[in-house]
Structure formats: C-alpha cells, structure tokens
C-alpha cells in the first residue's frame, strides 16, 4: 500500500513525458490528416508544449531528465541529426529557468508569451540546422517556413496554458497531489 502511494505521489515525475509523447503522436496524426484532406504542404511544430510544464511546475533537476527523455524519443523518429531536439530543448529550458520566477503560471497571457518564445527558439534552431545541412533542405520556400511558423506559434501560444492545466489536473486526479504545491526552486 505504501509502495503504491509512493508510486502515485511521483506521478508528476513520470506522467508529463508520457503525456507529451501521446500529444506528439496526436499532433503527427492531425498533421497527416490535414495533409490528406484540406491543407497539403503544411505542418505544425508544437515543441514548446513539451517544455512548459517541466519549466513552470518542476525543479530543474526533475524537469531536465523529463525533457531529455521526450527529446530523445522524438529525435529517434525525426529525419534530422539525432540529438538536435535534445540540445534545443535543454538550451531552451536552461535559458528560461532563471526567468521563470517572473512568469505567473496562473496567467494565460504570461504562458502564451513564454510558450511562443520557446517555440520560436526551437523552430529557429531547426531552421538553422537545415541551413547548415545539405543544400537541398536550405531551398525550402520562405512562405512555407513562415506560414508553418506563424500558425504553430499561434496554436502553441493559445493551447500552452490549457495543456499545462490539463497535465496538472491529470496528476491531481491520479495521486491527489497538486504539482503547484511542490517547490520549484
């Protein structure tokens, strides 16, 4: 019984990366369906959604392994060089850690700007990596890149707060402990 309670109380440590992987699969499927039916030549990049919860609700020592795990799992299926996401996510997390005390996680507007900024950073990293890579990847039309970026930014911005609250709710329901009750510093 005690072991079960202990496992449940650690839900905030193992549940977010699993939730992120499920979300990544759903996003992938949604993009495939969009491409099949209405919008060919369009793709969503929602990387900041995998970072907001570890950043705003977990200690760096707890958040970094989660982010690293998610990044490596996504990197394994990604066509680009292995480890790109790991580096970009870790950098984004490390850069935002000192600034997170200025962000009110209860405020959707604060979360909007935070998520949009991090998503922009990660997308810029992918772009830079492809520019440095083979020539063929560097000649993707700018309109395509900017449209993908703009729509992804808006979607990430508007959904980050609700996604974070959903993760918090799931953890609260599963173990009865609110992640907001744990210190992050």
């Amino acid at each position: 019984m005690a072991a079960r309670r202990r496992r449940a109380s650690n839900a905030r440590l193992w549940m977010p990366p699993l939730a992120c992987l499920v979300l990544a699969a759903l996003v992938q499927h949604a993009c495939e369906l969009l491409g099949e039916s209405m919008l060919p030549g369009f793709w969503l990049h929602l990387d900041a959604l995998y970072l907001v919860f570890p950043l705003l609700y977990l200690r760096f020592a707890h958040g970094l392994p989660q982010v690293a795990f998610t990044a490596l799992m996504l990197d394994a299926m990604w066509p680009g060089p292995f480890g790109t996401r790991l580096v970009l996510y870790s950098l984004a997390l490390a850069m935002m850690i000192p600034l997170r005390v200025r962000v009110r996680r209860e405020n959707p507007l604060h979360v909007f700007w935070l998520a949009s900024g991090m998503n922009l950073f990660v997308f810029a990293g992918f772009w830079l990596q492809t520019l440095l890579g083979p020539d063929a990847l560097a000649c993707v039309p700018l309109t395509r890149i900017l449209t993908d970026l703009l729509v992804s930014e808006l979607l990430v911005g508007f959904s980050a707060y609700w996604w974070m609250e959903f993760q918090r709710l799931v953890i609260f329901r599963s173990c009865g402990q609110d992640p907001a009750g744990f210190p992050i510093l």
């Binding site: 491409g35 099949e36 309109t143």
Partner: protein, 256 residues
Amino acid sequence: MRNALYECQAPAWVGLARLADLPAWMSEAARSRSSLLEENRDMARLNSAYMLRLQQAGMDAEELARVGAMLKMPPLQDWNYVVGRVIRRDLDTWWQRMTVQLGAEDGVRKGDGVVCRDGVVGRVMEVHAYTCVVELLSSASFRVAAHVDGDMRPVTYVGTPAPLFRDPGGEATNLPADMIADPARPLRLVTSRLGGVFPDGLTIGYMRHLEAEPDGLFQRSKVLLNPSLTRLREVAVLVPVLRAQVEAAEASISKK
C-alpha cells in the same frame, strides 16, 4: 541509441496506424453481400485478363532472353514486389518521408526503390528490423535517372521542396532542346533502368511546359506528381531477385 529508441517506438506507431485504419475497415465491413459478390465477379474478370497477359509476358520474356543471349547482353535485373503498409508520414517543412511496415527481416535494404499502383513513390533511406523509412519522390534530396515516355534519351529528375498549401512536385532537368510539350497532352516522365534502382517505364509524373535552361543546350520542366503520393496506405518495395537469392544462399550456408 537512436535505433534502440526507434525500435521501442515502432510497435506503437504500427498500432496507431491500425487504429487510424479502423473507420475505413468498419465501413468496408458494413458493405452488403450483393456489392461484395459484384466486386468478386469484377475481380474474377480482371484476374482472367491478367492471366492471359501473364502468358503473353512469359513468351515475351523468353524471346527477350533469346535475343539477349544472341547479342551477349547482360541479363536484365528482376525484382520481387514486397507489399507493406504505410504507418507514418513525415511531410513537415523540410522533410518528405514515410515509414513503411517492412524491414530488414523482409529483405529490404537501404537504397531499394518503392513503388505503388500509380508509379514511383521513393527510395528506402533507413532500414530497421520491421520497418523502413522511405524518402519520397517529392523530397528535395531525391534524384533519379529518368526519360520521357517514347524517348530513351536520359534526363534527371529532382524533387523540389514542398510548396505552401499545394501538393508536392519535382523538376526534370537536362531535357533535350528539341523536345516539345503540349499542355493538353503532357509528357510522361518515366524511370530509367540506368540507375539500377527501378525497372524501366514506371511513371514519375507529367510535364506540361518546358523552358530553356540558362546554357541553352537543355530544357527543364516542373513535374506534376501523383497527388495521392502523400495519402498512400500501401506501397511495394522493389527487392532485387538476385540479391534475395544470394542472401538466401548465404543464410543457408551460415546455418550449416
């Protein structure tokens, strides 16, 4: 490490692909008995037609072999068509790839060609145990030797980066300067056996307008690809027969 992480996720992607196919399967399962009987009859007719063509193809192949032997030509390469389901598509801003449920266990190797009913799909880029990653024809890094249907002069086909809100396409370069395209009757670009990856004559796409290249010696053209390229559910990997035989012989020797 990448392979380990990839392999542990692969079953989940296969499962998700099956889940995504569930609505289509349910709608198929709900079809009436009479419509199935009608389709069965149509299939039987089609099978009969194919049986006749197969007999004819057998005779043609013998004829070709006789002529080849007389002229001392090297034998033409033959392929096995291994059919697999598409379980994932990565058609993002920079990449055009799909994952197919065929792997090293099925005899697939890096560089093998991938085709579908409408023509060329792409080329195998990565091979894992039970899955492989295919670089699509529309990928910017895809290149293949080709020729125009009815004209054996070689040209080069290159995929172009996916444009916004449009189906992917490609570009043919090194087209002879005397070639003319009519928008009403577009030229069919087909594979050439020069590359050794594809058999001759598989459709790559169609060309409506040709324009002169800067050097004036050749022409280039945009190639319209099959729009269903990004919606495929099943594809076939071309596994060379000779290689499969060699690998089977090696496997039997190593067992002994």
